[in-house]
Amino acid sequence: MTTMRLVFVGGGISYRALFNWIHPAMYVPTMLLGPIFQILFFVYLGRYNGLQSDSFFVVGNAVQMSGMAGVFASTMSIANERQFGTLAPLLATPAARLPIFVGRMLPVAANGLVVSAFGFCIGSLLLGFRPPLSSIPALALVVVVSVFSCTAFGFTLGSFGMRARDVFLISNLAYYVMWLFCGVNVPLSALPGWMATIGRGLPFTHGIAAARALAVGASLGSVSGQVLKELAIGSVYLIVAFGLFRAFEVEGRRRASLETY
């Protein structure tokens, strides 16, 4: 009973406490308005270069947009505890760590889904993105899996926030790197081998590929391989993220670093 409350009630409260952009005045410009232009920009750049259809860029960027939550909100969920000096009080409580951790991931993932959905709507309204109606449920599923995967990845980065001070540097770099390596605007086949290899180990890559196929009418069965890979990648990151969280907690007690800021 307490576990459920810790996950949902606790997770919700800590999200409000730590997510820097929670106020609508921050949220709307940062997570919704800015990314509109990201989609517009890449679609127009694609048109200018006479490349793939608009759909290619809309799908790629609409999925990637959720990374603003998945990468940055995740980092904030952990790293901001240091800023407020609440990491020590948090870890001094007897609460089990896994529910705390999962509780923090849920709002972030929900946030990512909202952003992605918004991106797809913009693509539809402004750029005429029209996937076949029958594909939409499958598309939604792929987006959910991708968002989960990115959130887990984000929390892996965020766990370093328990140890390192400038973790936002890492998350910024990771966010930009994902733009390039995950096939958001350039298909993996056009990238040098090493980039594509790294990309295949990152979230989004498989999800975006699957979503693109679905958007032009492929069946869920035909992309199931990609979807499962995305799910697997997310699961691995989840385990690593939690492992790091616990490891750094123990290390923090040993090295007396829980309160350094």
């Binding site: 232009f37 200018y48 056009a190």
Partner: protein, 257 residues
């Protein structure tokens, strides 16, 4: 007047040094243009466009200057908030605009690292030839663009003083300006509403000046336009700063993060 210039110059050097030493700032503002340049270059190579990749490198580089200005100016004000020093600055006797102006100019100046690294990157990775048609005018165009962007930063900074959620604006304005000012996609190809907006933004003209200096054309009128817009921003920014500072004091938001 002399004191104003001196304060500006001293402040500018101070902030350039400070920003250069912030690893976080330099890395994040240089990294984005590199990624953008790489993405756009791959797209250009794959597409049917015939133009040179130098166009892409320059566009991404100027994007870097904008990024640096945007995050530098917004970030600086926000950083002052978090440290609790925004109030101190406002309470200081020097005119507020003379405190903020060197900062925004410095952030634009530090953007030159982005421009340089993007050009070098383009040359290293994509073999982009760094051949300038009008090298002398290029050397004039770059500082002019920096000045124009730095002064646009001043206008932005004034809103950041009033608006405690300034970070939201910084986050939001990166791509819109990239899009609307035609740094990588010519303004002529943008939706109709974007064109008038692009005319009042200094980066549009600054980019044209730099581009024409590098790739051929006559950059002088674009250069002049950049500087003219810059002067307008200076006046606008000064007025806004004084008023917004007063409003912030009225609403007691200077101390809030």
């Amino acid at each position: 007047m002399k004191r104003a210039l001196r304060l500006t110059a001293v402040g500018w050097v101070f902030h350039v040094k400070g920003l250069t030493m912030s690893g976080f700032f330099v890395v994040t503002t240089t990294f984005l243009p590199l990624v953008l340049a790489t993405t756009a270059s791959y797209m250009a190579r794959a597409g049917q466009r015939q133009g040179t990749l130098l166009y892409v490198s320059l566009g991404a580089g100027v994007m870097g200057i904008w990024s640096s200005t945007l995050f530098g100016s917004g970030g600086a004000i926000q950083w002052q908030r978090w440290q609790g020093t925004l109030e101190l600055i406002v309470a200081a006797p020097a005119r507020f605009v003379l405190v903020i102006l060197p900062l925004t100019l410095a952030t634009a100046t530090v953007g030159i690292y982005s421009l340089a690294s993007t050009l070098i990157w383009g040359w290293l990775v994509f073999g982009v030839p760094f051949h300038l048609v009008h090298p002398f005018l290029f050397v004039l165009a770059v500082p002019a663009a920096v000045l124009g962007l730095g002064l646009l930063g001043l206008v932005l900074a004034s809103t950041f003083v009033l608006y405690r959620y300034a970070n939201a604006l910084s986050n939001m304005l990166e791509f819109p300006v990239l899009f609307v000012t035609g740094l990588l996609v010519p303004v002529a190809l943008l939706p109709g509403w974007a064109q008038p907006v692009s005319w009042v933004l200094a980066p549009t003209w600054g980019m044209n000046a730099i581009r024409q200096a590098a790739l051929g054309g006559s950059p002088l009128d674009d250069l002049a336009m950049t500087l003219l817009l810059g002067a307008c921003y200076l006046v606008l920014g000064s007025v806004l700063l004084e008023n917004f500072a007063r409003l912030a004091r009225d609403r007691a938001t200077l101390a809030l993060t």
